[in-house]
Amino acid sequence: MSISRRQFVGVAGAGIASMAAPNLVFAGSSDPIRVGLLAAKTGPLASGGIDMDLALTMFLKERDNTLAGRKVELIVADTAGVPATARTKAQELVEKDNVHCIIGPLAALEALAIADYLTEKEMPTLGVAAAEDMTQRHPSPWFVRLTSTSAQCAYPLAEYSVKELKYKKIVTIADDFAYGHEMCAGFQRVFEDNGGKIIQKIFTPLATPDYGSYVAQVKSADAIFLGTAGSNGFRFLRQFIEYGLKDKMAVIGGMTALDESVLRNMGDEALGILTTSWYSAELDNPLNKAFAPVFRKQFKYDPGYYAGSTYVSGEVLEVALKTTKGNVEDKKALMAAIRGSNADTIRGVIKFDEFGNAVGNVYIRKVTKSDGRLVNSVIKTYPDVSQFWTYDQAAFLKNPVYSRDYPPAKNLEP
């Protein structure tokens, strides 16, 4: 058995090609600012990743690819929604493309896979992933999140459900992974602290093509809370309606249950559903009024969670760059500028707390019809919502992180 003519393509290719391209680090303000975007453009999370790319590219184009007087180069890396790929792509952005800061990634599993790497490389990161502990028990000085933790937007809705909608019993349903667990846990906590009862918590496996058997399990209650992400919420809702349950129970949802990207494929059955989020395409502030219609005109649908997240990142980055006068080489200064930016964005003004999480407005939205299409109209604004809601920060952090079983659900009906 001869061991000849083997092992050529892979290692030889990488080796020989790399010999011709050693790494050099550039410095100096005549070079462009390189921004890396980690987005899942293929795989099950593709819908969000594509929106993230579109919005950020649009943001930069509007400003002629120049921020604070310096040219900006955007490098987009497809993580495919897989942790190992996310890590490789992060390495590619940092080591091969020499980016100065990173925007994204979207999913907790991607963010957690690269968190220690980005901290080690001291790479300023404007994150989107909602995993609670990344800004609670395991924060990093190099990471900020300008969207929301999994539970942050659920708190106001839980209070609203008790106080204004007068719901007493609620069933929650979410995907069976950390994001779903954390969001339902947060909702449950505030709902029950205000006198309500969560009588059933359903978690559906990630690959559930047919929601029929889950719909049939739903117990009778005042409302059902959808803690789902992506398109699962709307697929579940369709079955929910087909089984006639929408006539018996109200439907409320978290920040990704009925996102604008999902609404555009729905019909009148979605009207009247309340959701909560840190953004809505219908927000009535000058910055959003300049952004949302332009996005809609260009891409033919309203911007939602994902498009909003990267546009806001761009806005925060711009404010930070203005403070450092375009200097990105001094990473510590850039990070400090980001954290202290207090930027006015399409979602309102956001500040970062000491853990790097955004404190800002959370909006209760209702699905209505406007101009013949479905939109998330804002019906109430909760200002300055932090990831700790009204709870004492130290006590909050002493508790374990939210999970499927924490806080324990004491009011479940058998």
Binding site: R5, V11, G15, S18, M19, A80, D176, R404
Partner: protein, 311 residues
């Protein structure tokens, strides 16, 4: 001719740390880890004739055991590695008993089912495995006091392990046992008539393949410093299987080439081509049409053809 190939291969393996940037060295490490995984799978697929779609079980289980022991229970790396490998190998023995009750598509399905059960457990038992958040903050070992934190140091470590793995698997395949394995693959009844025990031959191979799968799992978790249930998924197994077949399943070098191909397309080409998934599919179809036995056999036939031989 042979020496040119050896120099080329040796060069491409030994030169990167001296010339290439960190990113490429890391990519090379990943290729080598994928290569060990693919080689272990090939023992089953190519030499054993048993197509498995659940090989990621061994990678994932070894990775999880090592991560949990070092991260949560404070074991040192040496002991943790030993326990992981022993545990994974024992699991391979157990799985082998179940899986070998079937053959062909049935075998494929059982291996798929077993790995899916593990995948589901990894997600569901979140108080042990941390479920979908995965286990972060895993450290790398320090063999003989050498730190493996830098990409270059880690690359040398992986290279040494890969060389040992390749050597040992070659010995396995070219030994008398290896011959009996190939015999059982091709003519099980005749082998039984000759006094061999086909089941035992297959079972031993299954265990050995699981062993090396576990080794690749350890390297995988050291490299990534993170483990997530997706490493146990069918996609993970399928990519390795595709790499083995594309590279050439009956050969020793084939899996390495195939694994490199899949990895490079996924991680490198994806930076330049948005539709890299489609490209991957097209490459596979092309390979099967042009070189039905895989890249390595196809290439050697091409070389032989150029030299005027009839192969």
């Amino acid at each position: 001719m042979k020496w040119i190939a050896v120099i080329l291969i040796g060069g491409s393996l030994l030169l990167p740390p001296f010339f290439a940037g960190d990113f490429y060295i890391n990519l090379a490490s990943q290729i080598l880890i994928a290569a060990i995984f693919a080689l272990s799978l090939n023992l089953l697929v190519g030499f054993g004739g048993m197509t498995s779609l659940g090989h990621a079980s061994y990678l994932g289980v070894a990775a999880y055991i090592s991560a949990l022991l070092t991260n949560r229970y404070g074991f040192d790396h040496g002991t943790a590695a030993l326990i992981s490998i022993l545990g994974t190998t024992a699991m391979a023995a157990f799985f082998g008993v179940i899986a070998l009750r079937a053959s062909g598509l049935g075998f494929l399905m059982i291996t798929l089912a077993l790995s899916q059960v593990l995948w589901g457990l990894a997600y569901r038992m979140s108080n042990v495995t941390n479920g979908d958040n995965g286990i972060t903050g895993i450290t790398r070992p320090e063999p003989f006091g050498f730190s493996l934190e830098s990409p270059v140091a880690f690359y040398w470590f992986v290279l040494i392990v890969t060389a040992i793995a390749f050597l040992l698997m070659t010995i396995f395949v070219t030994s008398a046992f290896g011959s009996s394995l190939k015999g059982v693959r091709d003519q099980p009844r005749r082998m039984a008539a000759l006094g061999f025990n086909p089941w035992l031959v297959r079972w031993i191979t299954f265990i050995y393949a699981g062993f090396w799968g576990g080794v690749s799992g350890l390297l995988y978790v050291y490299y990534n410093k993170y483990i997530h249930p997706s490493s146990l998924s069918t996609t993970s197994s399928a990519e390795a299987l595709l790499g083995v077949i594309a590279g050439g399943s009956g050969t020793l070098g084939g899996p390495v080439v195939g694994a490199a191909l899949v990895l490079l397309l996924k991680n490198y080409a994806s930076a330049y081509i948005e539709r890299w998934n489609m490209l991957l599919g097209l490459v596979f179809v092309f390979i099967v049409l042009v070189m039905p036995a895989g890249i390595v056999p196809g290439f050697s036939r091409l070389m032989a053809g150029l030299r005027g031989e009839k192969r």
